[in-house]
Symmetry: C2
Subunit: 288 residues, 2 copies
């Protein structure tokens, strides 16, 4: 089990900052971003605000396994992922995790805390992460005078809602294979949009977490990946996934009768036939 110790997040000093960091500047030994960078990250067409440099948002770093926020914790800030990978989870009454999302660069965290003023979910870093803090009060305040910012907020919340609707549709209607296929396609697209390869990438989460996210068991996820590998849709090596036939994955609804399933069925039919004939003068079946 991952030791998700909730240490104070390390607020990285200048010496600890990646040189590849795209957004952010230093001040007081910390990273800060202006409004334009925030909007870019969210893919919001920001009508470049005048006050750009006066208005800065602080970054915070989290290490793998650290919690960004926990369920029930008092809400006061939203987060935007600048780099790294996370998961958000619900915990049911018996301590079981239900994965809700795998946020990555450009995604927003914490929106579910607005309603009750307490976070409704828990966010955990799956890799070392760099997040931008958006104090909600301050943000809403700013929204009042900057229409783009207000639109950004409403837009991001609505987008999140639509995403969850799609999730519900998927959980309610699709087979295990179709869910895994969509998950892979979706991940590939997100990696592509981030500038990484959409053909070859590393999963940042375990089979168990994928299963929880998709409403499946880890065994089913593993088996399904193996099956996709066998029919040439993807390559699988531990957490490295290669996408071979994205179109087939996109349109997949139910797996074709695959050789080993045919084999298995044949074996089964044989066994049954043997059992039926066992007592000899068995009633003659009249197959169509």
């Amino acid at each position: 089990m991952l030791t998700t110790q909730s240490l104070e997040p390390r607020q990285t000093t200048s010496s600890g900052i990646h040189t590849t960091m795209e957004a952010g500047r230093q001040r007081q030994g910390r990273l800060w971003s202006n409004l334009k960078e925030v909007c870019d990250l969210l893919h919001i067409p920001a009508a470049v605000s005048v006050l750009s440099e006066d208005l800065l948002f602080q970054h915070v770093q989290f290490k793998t396994g650290q919690r960004v926020h926990t369920i029930g914790q008092v809400f006061d800030t939203l987060y935007i992922v600048n780099s790294g990978f996370l998961k958000t989870v619900l915990i049911d009454e018996f301590g079981n995790e239900q994965v809700l999302s795998f946020p990555m660069k450009g995604d927003m965290l914490g929106v579910d805390g607005i309603h009750t003023r307490h976070y409704a979910s828990e966010a955990v870093a799956l890799s070392d992460c760099d997040l931008i803090l958006l104090p909600f009060k301050k943000l809403a305040q700013l929204g009042r005078t900057h229409a783009e910012l207000e639109n950004m907020l409403y837009g991001v919340m609505s987008r999140e809602l639509v995403r969850e609707q799609a999730m519900i549709g998927m959980l309610g209607a699709l087979s295990a294979e179709a869910r895994v296929a969509r998950f892979l396609v979706n991940l590939a697209e997100r990696f592509g949009a981030m500038g990484y390869s959409s053909k070859l990438f590393n999963l940042r989460m375990t089979r168990h977490e994928i299963g929880s996210y998709l409403g499946l068991t880890l065994e089913t996820v593993s088996r399904t990946l193996s099956a996709f590998n066998e029919i040439g849709l993807i390559t699988v090596d531990q957490r490295t996934i290669g996408i071979k036939d994205p179109d087939a994955l996109k349109s997949l609804r139910r797996l074709p009768p695959s050789r080993n399933r045919v084999k298995q069925n044949a074996r089964k039919a044989e066994a049954e036939a043997a059992a039926a004939n066992a007592v000899p003068p068995a009633p003659a079946l009249a197959p169509a």
Copy 2:
């Protein structure tokens, strides 16, 4: 099939208005509500605005089967349910409906249209309905000067998000019986909150719609209701549901081995035994 013709919604004239309407006043032969009434409906503690009577929101009536908005339609207004029952649905690439929610009094519709400026789902009236129109631009504009209103908007969107998260958790983790049980409990609570009986109520939707909502088939819903009825948790008569043991429903995770399932298993075991013994003397039945 329900003929969901998308006629122009009838904008009821004074002669057609229910006498029991709680919120709203007449003007120009139509119903209108002020900000306070809107906030009350949403359970938002409205610090009673001064300009109450100057700022009015129009009502519109929809008849059973009419669509409030459809997927892809240009978004410009949010709706609040003042009375009546609806469903919101997603339509997949082959025309299958996936029910997302059953909005009723106090619920907001259309939030999913903000992001892309087009509605992402379709809302259909399951009974005659009275909705309040909230032109989004106007609302956001007002939010800038009235903090309560702005909070209301963010709060309602966040609440909706949390609701959907709970839905995902349920679809991802619960058995068919647990889903149906939660659905009933949830409905009962909502009816209770609206001032109706939470012990005896009428479902406004078909088994098919319930099944779609819960990620189950209509047969499973029907069977599960029958099973709950048989063990005394509820009474069922078509769409009339009586809640007999709400606590048992709330805590239900998996149905106890119920007599007819035991019976069935016994029968099955017997059949197998019979098959195994095949020729020998027919085993005497041993009913419980």
